[in-house]
Symmetry: C2
Subunit: 408 residues, 2 copies
Amino acid sequence: MTRGSRSERAASLDEADPLTTFRHRFVRADDVVAYLDGNSLGRPLAETSARLARFVGETWGGRLIRGWDEGWMEEPVRLGDELGRVVLGAGPGQTVVGDSTSVLLYKAVRAAVALAPSRTEVVFAAGDFPTDRFVLQGVAAELGLTLVPIETPHDGGVDPDRVAAAVGPDTAAVVLSHVAYRSAFVTDVAAATAAAHAAGAAVVWDLSHSVGALPVHLDDWDVDLAVGCSYKYLSGGPGAPAFLFARRDLLPRLHQPIQGWMGADQPFAMGERYAPDPGIRRFLSGTPSIVAMRPIRDMLEVIDEAGVDAIRAKSERLTAFAVELVDELLTPLGVRLASPRDPAMRGSHVTTDHAAFPAMLPALHRDGIVPDFRRPDGLRLGLAPLSTSFAEVEAGVLAIRDALRRTG
Amino acid sequence: MTRGSRSERAASLDEADPLTTFRHRFVRADDVVAYLDGNSLGRPLAETSARLARFVGETWGGRLIRGWDEGWMEEPVRLGDELGRVVLGAGPGQTVVGDSTSVLLYKAVRAAVALAPSRTEVVFAAGDFPTDRFVLQGVAAELGLTLVPIETPHDGGVDPDRVAAAVGPDTAAVVLSHVAYRSAFVTDVAAATAAAHAAGAAVVWDLSHSVGALPVHLDDWDVDLAVGCSYKYLSGGPGAPAFLFARRDLLPRLHQPIQGWMGADQPFAMGERYAPDPGIRRFLSGTPSIVAMRPIRDMLEVIDEAGVDAIRAKSERLTAFAVELVDELLTPLGVRLASPRDPAMRGSHVTTDHAAFPAMLPALHRDGIVPDFRRPDGLRLGLAPLSTSFAEVEAGVLAIRDALRRTG
């Protein structure tokens, strides 16, 4: 394909995109031609800037301490319920916002393994994101549990068959990611959960790389516990608070060890002994940041308006276009596609490997192309469906091609 | 004193106050005559509103993922060092910002008791803030430790003598608050720390009710670990991230159980095994909220400009004026002062008890008087030195007097 006809193709895809106008709601960076890292840090919505300023001046500054009685106290659960409704497929009273993903994962895993104190093993994916593995190593060390890795040929992705093969009567919990952080391989959550349940084990899912880009149906999938971050496709901002989901019928039996007042049954009773809230609030500990939750709320409104199914459809078109361009422009130069070819098995990013990539990053940044880098030599093209255009995908892959040619 | 001469007194105190102009840097709430709860939630600085908006639009939106390489990655420690320099009396490399106070207290206590695995007791103040007691109950339950309470006749405050009497060869750690949340009683940190050290125990201080209002000298006081919140006198906003301090020479031996990637030696190595950062970063777990840290930074600049000693001097004058007015106006109506009379033993709030207080709160709020309420029947007048005027103190106590008269 010639450069001209390719650009026409990108332009016509953008024109035909039913979500194309959503792009203009996000802040644009002047020096960025193609932002391909929305899966690491989502662009902010333009309205978030003014809304946050108003929150400081009018709500925090105007309502002061009264704000806690006027909504902030409920905000971690109210926002959790909204996450449940809009992006998690979870009924109310099962999701709470606060802490970081790592801290919530720690709480979720501690709660999960405590359900079966006589079981001694935790099954996990060998290629999972470091923080997931590190948290598990810490929990295993303090509780004397054995970690059982599932091999992950798909660069971190897990087949449900391998879950079934790894679990057994000693398995207390299975901890997995819905979408693999490196390859974007999508694990079948329902099937993997069923495999864990068949062995009597609880499951904890990390949704960090799927939430907001792929449909999630936690209730239908019979998931026990899940956590996820909000600064990727949920545009919560750098280090925005994470969320935790716990199945309603399990809640009374779930106990996490960080007993803070915000998770107590009656926070203002100032009582003698800690008694956990009967519901999902028991997963809170200290006071969660209300300021940091505001951008998530803004983005959820926009996702709700667009609809997760439409977002997923665009995500598949974006990654398919990226794969097509990789095949045409990069494979001849020795680049290897590290993501699944089947769009149904692929999340919202496309990873390609080449030994020359690490050295190329500064030049790409200078040209306004911002992909993500993952060791040892992967460029991860994160395509945030609501803010990324087909033209950006094209500009990004072309720039990578040109940079590779220069190095070669 | 007549109402007129009393008002003249308040006005002349405000006029003579060397910090009087600082008040105008904070957002004013139109319907609030006297905000006496800056010790629960500090007023925002007016400039924080615009700065936060600019951060979203220009830094998050403009720099996008590049922001992590351009300062965000270092921000938890950079801001920690600033806290150390301006308000904690701590040299660099010992303070980090992130998580909530409860989560950081959990980490600090777990790290402290792990220093002496053969010791079986944790000493704490019976009247301490619930989250402190609750966190300790959780740690004690999971590790099989015994909690040893120190009685607190001063409504939560602790005499160093009682610490010396409570510690022994089985004491792993002593966990105390610098300023008692209810009475504002100030504990002598250096003396209590020395008493703990004499028994070979580590100390963990909660500075939530002192930081930003009282001088703190963690290095000089030989403190092992400390935590504190930033939404009171540090004006960080509702649920702003907390801080943790750990003594430099102890750091290599301190281990906390929530092993996330942000606390790892090389976060982007994506390695097989977790190895903690050699320094204070080992107390981080997940990605801390950069957005939520910004207001703290703004307030630290202002505190640095005013100087902690000048702030403490005004705090003493404010609480002395409050005590004087309580004596004159409220004691005759049966109100009991629950805070120390000696300004040196008193933090920056004044608590008064009366059985009629709980029922009076709505009327006070309607009149624009916003004090804090603490069970069973305490009105806590929090006097944030940089944002509270003597006129506010007077208006508050007069309104309480009037409300009491109406009920009586």
